[in-house]
Each structure stands twice: as C-alpha cells, then as structure tokens.
C-alpha cells in the first residue's frame, strides 16, 4: 500500500517535471518558429529526442539547460530547412486580455511591423534577440540554449538591435 502510494507520488512528480520542461521548451521553440502548430510538433520532437539521448545527461541539475539547448537546436534546424520565418499568430490575444477594437487593431499592426523587422535578421541573430528581449533570458542563459559563448550571444544581440533600429529608421521616413 505504502509502496503503491510512493510509486504514484513519484509518477506524479515525474509528470509534473515533464510538464514544466515541456512548457518551457514550447516557449523557446515558439519564439524561434513563431507559430503554434510547428511549435507543438517541434516540442514533441525535441522531447522524444531528449528521452532517446537521456544517457548524455550526466548531471540532472543541468537538465533544464540541456533540454533548452535541444529545444533551440531543434527549432533552428527546422527554420533552416524551412528557410523562411512566418509569424502567423498575430491577431490572437491571450484570453485574459481585455482590449478595445482600436487597441486590438493597433497591436496587430505593431506585431506585423515587428515581424517585418525580424525577418531582416539572420536566424541566430533573431533567435538571440527573441530569447533575450522577448523571453527575458539572461545572455548567459541564451548562450547555453544556443550552444555558444556569451560573447557570441552579445554580438548577435548587438547586430540584431542595430539592424532593427535601421529598419525602424527607414520606416519612419
């Protein structure tokens, strides 16, 4: 009885851990690919890949970083193959948002404008920028997720912000 309860608790804890990882990986992948259907498929692919490579993870404390990297690599591989970034979820608001029609229209236009600027970036610049400035990860966390140094991430972010600024300047003329 006690063993059964303990097994159930362990299974519940494992499920909760998987769900937490899944949600975080989905967020990262969504930032890179920009639409829900692809992000869902890629989250599944990334987690299945991670489970198959479980033996590579030597330190369970670094599971989150390891999974983040698999997630971002999976998304970048997909984007490379697809060779074009689309942002399709521009008009959907989370259910808790209460906006006037004017606010909703303005937000849709803003997102459309932002998407145009992001398309000018390389995939790594765009990924670094979105993970840093939208997802709010620290530069070191972005570096771990992308499998590169913090200096490289800073370089990508700097390039991305400057290009974005130039894009904005052209639009305002």
């Amino acid at each position: 009885m006690a063993a059964e309860r303990e097994a159930q608790e362990r299974a519940g804890a494992a499920d909760a851990a998987v769900e937490a990882h899944m949600r975080r990986m989905f967020r990262l992948i969504y930032r890179v690919v920009g639409n829900v259907p692809d992000a869902q498929d890629l989250t599944q692919e990334a987690l299945v890949k991670a489970l198959a490579r479980r033996a590579q993870l030597k330190d369970d404390r670094k599971a989150a970083q390891w999974l983040n990297r698999i997630a971002v690599n999976t998304a970048l591989d997909f984007v490379r193959k697809r060779s074009r970034v689309t942002f399709e979820e521009l008009d959907k608001a989370p259910p808790s948002c209460v906006e006037s029609p004017e606010q909703e229209l303005l937000r849709g236009e803003t997102r459309s404008w932002l998407a145009g600027g992001l398309e000018l970036l390389s995939e790594r610049e765009r990924t670094a920028l979105l993970l840093r400035d939208v997802e709010g990860l620290r530069a070191s966390e972005v570096a771990q997720a992308m499998g590169c140094s913090t200096a490289t991430v800073r370089s990508h972010i700097a390039n991305a912000r400057v290009k974005f600024r130039q894009y904005r300047g052209r639009r305002q003329r």
């Binding site: 899944m22 967020r27 299945v48 489970l51 959907k92 803003t110 972010i157 974005f164």
Partner: protein, 169 residues
Amino acid sequence: MRSRSAHPTQRELALLAGGDLGRFARWRVTRHAARCPMCRSAVASYVQDRRELGALAPLPVVDFAALGHQIRVAAAQAGPRRVSHGRRRWGIAGAALAAAAALVALFLQVPDTRREVFPATPRMGLLQPAGFAGLPAGADAQVTADGHLSFRAFYRGSGQLTITEYYVP
C-alpha cells in the same frame, strides 16, 4: 587608445540599452552618454525598440495537457531498447535490421579498424520493415545488426533512412 571625445559604437549603445555590456564598457559608455545628447537619444531609441518587442511576449492559448499526452504516446512508441551487452536498438524486428544491414554492407566498405566513425554515403533508401511504423519522421536511429555493423541514421519518413555515419563496434 580611444580618445575621450569618441562616441561609442552603435553596437555598444544597443547593448547598453539592454544591460548587456561588460562592467568596464558599461561604465565608459554610460559616462559618455551622460554628457552626449546624441548618444543618450540613441540609447533611448534602443530601449524603445526593446519595449515594443515586448508586444510579441504574450503566448497564444495552447492545450498543454493534450500536447503532454501526445508526447507521452510518441515517447512510448519510440525510444531505444537497451540490449544486455550495452548496445542500443530501436524496437524493430531483428530480421528487418539484418536485411537492412546486409543492404548497407553491399554499398559500404567496412574497414578493418575498430572503434572508428566514418562519414557514410549521403543518402540511402531502404525498404520499410514493419517495425519502422511509429518511428517519427526526423528521428535519429542507431541500428545495430548481428554485432558486426552499426549505423546512425536519420529517419526521413516513408520507410527511408538517411545514414549519417557507420562504425564497427
């Protein structure tokens, strides 16, 4: 050596706006921007850009429970079976593996050296054994047959594998 009047680069100003400069560079650029309206304005513009990127932050509604279920199902169908002597296999009929390995052996020269990895012929089409069903497209597979030949492949779907490397265990 940088002159006192030299402006920071646009990259430095952009990084300052996000708090991404190193300590000394942050001190130097901040000190300059405090006395330079043009650079101060540039930093403010980069800050504004970051703020507007926040419009992308809200996530759309996702049914995570359904996604979690799909992942558990996919994981249960995939995943290697550990053989007792330590080699990993996908859950695929041994006869199908042997047939696949025999086909590969016709096209690949297996060298005498052991424990080396060799780049494989880029593309190889194989017949689809029944055991491939459930293997998701895009999955990596490590296939070992008869203890003589192992190869790593990328499952393209529709029964085709692209072999990426082979090695003699």
